[in-house]
């Protein structure tokens, strides 16, 4: 194993993060060198945290340098742990206390209009993500984390799930592509995570593998909360298998990832989206058939809110329940435009009222004006009114 290890990020532009550089020594005790912009305020606290953590891992002699730009304890602890584990073999985890807000469970069919992607190894973005009230926050271990940062990112994401208040947003993690992603689950599942996103999902075998691994971890650790799955369909084969995938255990919805899908087709992603019309419709259709939700791909131009709005309206008209986003400012646009229009709400109210009236009168047939209303229409109207009660945050 290496003699000196480093973990984390440090630089002029990097905030709320730190870099830990660790060297094990033969004697001399624990030497902590702290360079920090908040040293005057938190220097003593940081140094005692570092010492306690090194002792926890049984390290008695070491030089540890911490270069800090205002990282919170859970970040510092994660960076030190990542540095330690590059030098010594240990299965131990240095866990800070989980905040009470982060132990709640979520319902299978809760609204998931917006899910905000955050790069898993960039702590600054996670601190305030919840205040924008997305329905879900995804800590990403996959594409947004560089290959050499994957290890430290899993530890940071683990700590983030325990320490950061997401203010009611569903706590989600996108693991790496399987089989690597199965190892991510060891760190993530015990932290009361609500949803695991499984990228580049093509077959039911992948979800079975994920479910088996999750069940094994839950059994070992005696965990009794639900962990939902959202497979992300990103290939032609995935689209074809989407119904079977949607039917797998614990799946709450299907997401589509259009960058990889269009690459797989050998075409380009366009603003009009004709190339993905079939796939998007197929995903919606498979999800509905399996009675789960469906989620559209992210819209990547974070400065063009008008184009985002049009994109959301198209998604809604195709039947999607939500979409991904990569910037907090996209959230209110997504919520506002997935929300039913006033006309839709008015109509839904009339339909539900007519249904109630028919029920009270014991009529078998519901009618509104001269039109007969079928059961699925009533159901859709009820769903519209449910969405209204969720409200937008705009």
């Amino acid at each position: 194993m290496a003699k000196i290890s480093t973990a984390g990020n440090y630089g002029k532009e990097i905030r709320s993060d730190c870099m830990a550089t660790l060297e094990l020594t033969k004697s001399g005790g624990l030497k902590i060198d702290l360079i920090s912009k908040v040293k005057d305020y938190f220097g003593d606290q940081i140094i005692s945290l570092a010492k306690e953590e090194l002792k926890f891992f049984g390290i008695k002699n070491a030089k540890l340098k911490i270069e800090d730009q205002g990282a919170l304890d859970f970040v510092i602890a994660a960076r030190i742990e990542a540095a330690v584990k590059q030098l010594i073999e240990t299965d131990q985890e240095y866990l800070l206390e989980i905040i009470p807000q982060n132990t709640d469970q979520t319902a299978k069919d809760r609204p998931r209009r917006s899910r905000l992607y955050l790069p898993g190894n960039t702590p600054k973005l996670a601190l305030n993500a919840g205040i924008y009230k997305p329905d879900g926050i995804i800590l990403d271990l996959e594409d947004s984390v560089a290959p050499d940062k994957k290890f430290e990112a899993t530890i940071l994401v683990r700590n983030t799930l325990r320490s950061v208040n997401f203010y009611g947003a569903e706590r989600m993690v996108r693991i790496n592509q399987l089989p690597q992603g199965l190892d991510d689950l060891d760190h993530i599942i015990p932290q009361h995570v609500n949803v695991i996103l499984v990228p580049k999902c093509e077959t039911t075998d992948q979800l079975k593998a994920a479910n088996n691994k999750i069940a094994k971890i839950k059994k070992e650790k005696n965990l009794n909360y639900e962990v939902w799955l959202i497979p992300i369909i990103e290939s032609a084969l995935g689209v074809i298998n989407s119904y079977q995938i949607a039917c797998c255990e614990n799946v709450v919805g299907l997401a589509i990832g259009l960058e990889d899908y269009t690459a797989d087709l050998g075409t380009q992603r366009t603003a009009e989206g004709n190339e993905s019309f079939f796939a998007r419709s197929q995903i919606v259709n498979s999800a509905r058939a399996a009675k789960v939700q469906s989620f559209d791909s992210v819209f990547s131009d974070v400065n063009d809110m008008e184009a985002l709005k049009q994109n959301v309206l198209t998604s809604k008209s195709l039947g999607f329940d939500g979409m991904g986003c990569i910037h907090p400012r996209q959230i209110p646009v997504i919520h506002a435009n997935f929300a039913p229009t006033e006309k839709e709400i008015e109509k839904a109210k009339q339909i539900v009222a007519a249904f109630q009236e028919a029920k009270e009168k014991g009529l078998g047939v519901v009618s509104l004006g001269s039109k007969m209303i079928d059961a699925p229409v009533v159901k859709r109207a009820q769903k519209v009114l449910e969405l209204v009660s969720v409200g937008g945050n705009n």
Binding site: R15, S16, K37, V38, D40, Y41, F42, G43, D44, Q45, Q69, G70, A71, L72, D73, L127, N128, I131, Y132, N165, H327, P328, R329
Partner: protein, 520 residues
């Protein structure tokens, strides 16, 4: 002479000196509890026969002008900050003083910037005794370490005007940069090679100084009009190669922020004044430069367009964003104290509804129609606030002085003053139990808006009532502080010595707080 002596506890509960740099001062007595009613300064009386009959007051060099103005030990020299961090003039003045062997000068800038760091060597060598004015950047840091022989004296923009007019701050020589001047000293800041905008911060200096030197890099034919400085008030005119770099006026202050947190804070501010019923036809408000303020203007504009609201007047420092509101008819007037970009300078020059105002009119405690007091709402930033709504804008939580007061205190008397702040910066909480330096008494801070919620001063029952069903995240400031402390941890208290290094003056001229030497 002791820098500061005879300390007493003032009405804000702060220990403050009653003697500063040998002059007697009055401790803060409470908001609107002290009336500075004495007769004001009596400026020196000139006669035209002492000046050239043809009006030509040009002298060859700044050095010659300073010598002819009688520069000598212990004098007070003033400059303005309209070039902000691009000022070339102040450093030259003290370089010349050093060359002439003059000592113990007092520098009274309307604001200092990092570009004035070379003044430090003149303080170290005894050329400059102390600074009365904002202490920013390297100068603030220097003063915080107790290295200035005299006590720093921090005044607001309005407070500086008041002190000069009241005779508490006598200027011997005012050295005023102007982007254009004629031979007589009629001058402005909107013409010439390097225009910077209005000259609001020269008015008191020119009116009350014993000698006024206009320095320009663009000499134009008599008469230079508009004449923001009138030649009749000027003793000497000096022409140099370049007096400042206007590009430095705009640095970093004229772009809407990309930060989602700041955008959210700005959006909350706009929604708050809408919910509180403040944002209605005929509204007047101040929004300066800086990312959050500009974003506030952006969100207010959205609401105005949606609801068909038109403003009466906006108070700058303005940028193209305010100019757009003026040109699209969303506001009838802009009152301008300082311009922050070229669009603002152009509009000020060409649009009669873009009106230059003096610091006296907008900010002075003596003004009979104080404009800041007439504003419906003013949004400001802050380095710290506390649970009793006290605010700090000059020092960081470690006690180091790093910002000037600017118009911060003067804006406090608006009908609704909002502080727009993040709840923490790099792990350092912005909401404290007690601010490190008291710059604005809590009773004047109406609302604190953060990304995690809006706190309304309990004194403003009307605002609390008006916004209670708005759906906005209105929160008790103590609850918010608790949440922030849980996120950040409780920071250790800064290590400050007992030694005073500067005082903060309140707008009425009383002493509000003492700034202590930083130990490390």
């Amino acid at each position: 002479m002791k820098k500061a002596d005879k300390f007493v506890l003032n009405a804000a509960g702060r220990m403050v000196p009653t003697i500063v740099n040998g002059r007697k001062v009055i401790p803060f007595m409470g908001v609107n509890k002290y009336w500075p009613t004495h007769k004001g300064a009596a400026p020196h009386v000139p006669t035209c026969i002492d000046y050239p009959a043809d009006g030509n007051k040009i002298v060859e060099t700044l050095k010659e002008a300073l010598i002819k103005s009688g520069l000598k030990d212990g004098m007070t020299i003033s400059t303005h900050h309209h070039y902000r961090n691009g000022d070339f003039l102040a450093n030259q003045v003290f370089d010349i003083a050093a060359e002439l062997g003059v000592k113990n000068l007092i520098w009274v800038p309307s604001a200092a910037f990092p570009c004035h760091a070379p003044i430090i060597k003149h303080i170290e060598s005894g050329v400059v005794h102390h600074i009365e004015g904002s202490l920013n950047g390297p100068l603030g840091d220097f003063c915080s370490r107790g290295k200035m022989p005299g006590l720093g004296y921090l005044r607001s923009h309005g407070g500086r005007y008041r002190a000069i007019a009241d005779g508490e701050l006598h200027i011997d020589i005012a050295v005023m940069g102007a982007s254009a001047s004629d031979m007589t000293g009629n001058a402005n800041g909107v013409m010439g090679k390097h225009p910077f905008g209005p000259m609001a911060f020269t008015k008191a200096d020119v009116k009350y100084a014993d000698r006024t030197i206009v320095v320009t890099d663009t000499l134009i034919d008599f008469p230079c009009y508009p004449w923001e400085i009138m030649g009749n008030d000027v003793d000497f005119v000096v022409v140099v190669d370049q007096i400042g770099d206007p590009d430095q006026i705009v640095s970093g202050t004229t772009k809407i922020t990309n930060s989602p947190d700041r955008l959210l804070i700005a959006e909350y501010c706009a929604k708050f004044i809408d919910a509180a019923g403040i944002l209605k036809d005929g509204i007047s408000f101040q929004a300066g430069a800086g990312g959050t303020s500009l974003a506030f203007v952006h969100f207010v504009k959205e609401i105005m367009l949606k609801k068909g609201i038109k403003a009466k007047c906006l108070m700058g420092g303005s940028t193209k964003f305010l100019v757009e509101l003026l040109e699209s008819g969303l506001t009838e007037y802009i009152f301008e104290g300082q311009a922050f970009d070229l669009d603002a300078i152009r509009s000020l020059r060409d649009n009669p509804n873009h009106i230059p105002i003096a610091v006296f009119d907008s900010y002075d405690f003596h003004a009979k129609g104080n404009l800041a007091r007439m504003m419906d709402v003013i949004v400001l930033g802050s380095t710290e606030v506390d649970v009793t709504f006290n605010a700090n804008c000059v020092s960081h939580s470690d006690g180091r002085m790093l910002h000037g007061i600017g118009g911060f205190q003067n804006c406090m008397i608006a009908k609704c003053t909002i502080l727009a702040v993040p709840s923490f910066r790099d792990r350092i909480p912005v909401i404290k139990d007690e601010v490190t330096t008291l710059v604005a008494p809590g009773e004047l801070v109406d609302v604190i808006v953060t990304e995690r919620g809006i706190c309304i001063n309990p004194l403003r029952k009307d605002l609390i009532e008006a916004t209670k069903d708005s759906g906005l995240p209105i929160r008790d400031i103590k609850d918010l502080k608790k949440e922030i402390d849980q996120i950040c941890g409780i920071p250790a208290k800064p290590k400050l010595s007992d030694e005073a290094v500067a005082v903060v003056e309140w707008i009425d001229g009383t002493i509000l707080d003492t700034i202590r030497k930083v130990e490390k």
